[in-house]
Subunit: 548 residues, 2 copies
Amino acid sequence: MKIIIIGSVAAGTSVAAKARRNREDVEIVIYEKDKDISYSGCGLPYYIGQDYITRDNLTPRNPDWFKKRFNLDIKTKHEVVAVDHKNKKIEILNIETGDKFSDNYDKLIFATGASPVLPPIQNIENDFIFTLRNVSHADKLYKFIETEKPDKAVIVGAGYIGLELAENLIERGIDVSIMELSKLPMSNLDEDVSVHIRKELEQNNIRFIGGEKLTAIEQKDNQKFVLLESGERIETDFVVLATGVKPVSELAKSIGVKTANNNAIIVDKYLQTNLNDVYAVGDCAMAFSSIDSSPMWVPLGSTANKMGRVCGDHITGGKLSFQGILGTGIFKVCDLAVATTGLTERQVQRSGIEYIVHHNFKPNQTEYFNTSSEMMIKMIAEKSSGKILGAQIVGKNGVDKRIDVIATAISFGATVEQLFHLDLAYAPPFSTTKDPVHYSGMVLNNAKNNDNPIITPQEVLDNPGKYIIIDVRSNSQYNEGHIPNAINIPLAEIRNRANEISKNKELVVHCNKGVSGNAAQNVLLNLGFERVYNLSGGYKNYKLISEI
Amino acid sequence: MKIIIIGSVAAGTSVAAKARRNREDVEIVIYEKDKDISYSGCGLPYYIGQDYITRDNLTPRNPDWFKKRFNLDIKTKHEVVAVDHKNKKIEILNIETGDKFSDNYDKLIFATGASPVLPPIQNIENDFIFTLRNVSHADKLYKFIETEKPDKAVIVGAGYIGLELAENLIERGIDVSIMELSKLPMSNLDEDVSVHIRKELEQNNIRFIGGEKLTAIEQKDNQKFVLLESGERIETDFVVLATGVKPVSELAKSIGVKTANNNAIIVDKYLQTNLNDVYAVGDCAMAFSSIDSSPMWVPLGSTANKMGRVCGDHITGGKLSFQGILGTGIFKVCDLAVATTGLTERQVQRSGIEYIVHHNFKPNQTEYFNTSSEMMIKMIAEKSSGKILGAQIVGKNGVDKRIDVIATAISFGATVEQLFHLDLAYAPPFSTTKDPVHYSGMVLNNAKNNDNPIITPQEVLDNPGKYIIIDVRSNSQYNEGHIPNAINIPLAEIRNRANEISKNKELVVHCNKGVSGNAAQNVLLNLGFERVYNLSGGYKNYKLISEI
């Protein structure tokens, strides 16, 4: 049996390695049009920013390594230009020599990845305009920075790569502006989460320009400008286009492989396309939700690796199947880690599921440690069952741990009540006696049972005058800033002053982050008030969200 | 209803807080014989070692805070000396005044904690001999270090507290020896895990004395000595006894409350004892395994908090119940984090379950980051079902994340195959494209299916001559050190030189950590060799274990 794989980054090499692990008696050839293989695409921004990361770090393995270990042939600078699936033949262009030749296969695997989506503007091919998708792109940008020593950059697009690059450019001492069509960075996250990212950018002197469209990039004499729809002209030394990626599937389509609306190749759980013996893995393939099996396209190295392993196993007779994804992702921008798993509130709203949501501000570890810092977990659960639907977390330390625990819990259909009971590891350097994840579970479970209903700041903002708002913080905190028309009754006085509060209206109580608000809510509920909501994330969260 | 709680550290205050959250109309009184309440027992070693941790950090809340927030009375320096359960009365000694008085209850909660187990030696009450269980103990030790400026310490007992304190004493510039009855530190862990702790101690110039018994502590003129059974006399400036703790349950026993062999109070899932209206929570109470419901006593703040909350809920009409524990724990000693969850290999061996085990050496994050470091995950699963039974992890960074993910997975009955499919968060600063947890799942799943059987170094050490051992590392690595009688065939040569290997004997292949060994195993299996084991954790693991 002969296996031909097109593309040799994460997914393609995973297919090859797993196929060889299973069988010695198959022939495996990979064609790669680029010169680099098996590189860490996610590492490119760090290569730009960190002195100690070398180019060799990015591409630790060459074709010779794969030959020795896995007895397989990787031909770089070889582009597969045509496929004749009827006869199971492909035509290959040797990019260096210009020669063409053909090869045959029993199994054909598309691991063609994704390519940058470029904005529809003129003069985009220019020596000061960059993208950052492969090692060649990184080489070009790296060389530019080393030789031209630019002072300022404009990044177009505030997704993963744009934000990671922003951090790494300021590490190089470059002044960065980052623009984005959406009002806030990371438009796939909820706005009450991505507002934290905007704040982090501002705190690091990165200018964020939201809700703006790029109309042109100009060069006049020695000056370069980015032009915005608003009319603003931003002078810059270079521009990086990080406006997203799209699946590379043209060749697959040319032989009748079916793709989704976004051009991702449709595959089954063994990564097989609609054509026999034709497979697709990695960023060019469509994944699916492990919760409800709906199609999902989240092009990440972790998914590419899993797909590759499953496909390599399947084509050599193994039993593995792809189990789908939760859309889990994480990135770091300056000191902020941002992570997501499962559904966002926006996605849940679209699905029509009745849900509960909570913003939980908690330290990652015992607070007297000087490495302790606060994170915010936004968690969403189904109201009827308490099943966790998704979570988004922002914070300095320990974000990756909590998102992975929650992702694991979601994978097993956990409820918010079950979260509280998890026996997680506690010691002061690592967590708090009740972990932030436990708190999210506790609060949402109390909300699920209607014992302690929660209200979001957005709900309060959207309905001015609907609720009596009781601010249970101290007088001095209240005087520094408060929700319009809020009444100040500090928590310690709430039992004695409850008679001041009208029983005819719905109440919203709040403190600074939510814990004292919850205590006040309990007092009022136990004193016979019937409709008392605790404000999710307290005044801190309200203030942030009111500034969106 | 009147609730009386005896003890006001983690569990007792949790009961009170939850009871008040549920109901305003109950009276709550806590009696605490100590002067400090609601303190972080786990933080005591860090208070000793870290300049920035103040005494106030340890005891952030006083009775007044609880009164204001929860309307409950905490009476410190008040010891409950007798209980008349028939009449639901208690007698209390005011330690400061010597007065006695009585009080009555509807519900009585024992949150009496645990106390140090002291070794049976003479002169143990001495001004240079310390324990470290409560804030008063910490005060005494702290003051001694500040005023006497000691140079050297002997810690007796290498459990959590002993090891954490060792780290914090060397932070203070004190020379530390730590002795332990067992051969290795942390005797509740498997030896192939705790050998890493011994290594860490040695690397930090902490002398570890294993398999030794303390026979006496002597003071002669101005010199102090610790005497060992071996005859050795160690001169020291002070001694800390960290030889474990035992449940405090004498008062409970006096009214007929049933206890287990270790004196822990036996409770049901609502934390109720065998007596009506009498409960026990925290370190004085017995917990149970959430896997098989067998009794477990693992006195930790995280469990105490959960028990307290459940008990407080139950006595005020709530529906919560305690779901048991996995025995999850973590601690840090110098640069090493050590964590465990579920069963150890020793426990599994005792249970008679047929199991598979693997030692997985992997970096916590993408290796080209200068914060990347290696961890070792020892994972154990049931052979028949693939269900994860337990894991122990040692490493510098990211250990807490992996143990929590595994603890969560175990809670939901996960199999090793399911581990591989988890959609965990990947970005270079946080993990590797396949997370260490994925690798453990993959390798154990291959072992479960008998596709890639694993053998432990111990098995090889215990059966010299039984296996043909093939070392697939480079010649130079082999020459630097190898397993006795191992044959060196570097991986790249294994396909061509397979004919040199006898097919009549069981083979063990290995590389340095296991990955290339697995590749070689696959080649040999695919070439028709039938009994080929990969050495768990490779030569690195073998070498460590051979030195136990």
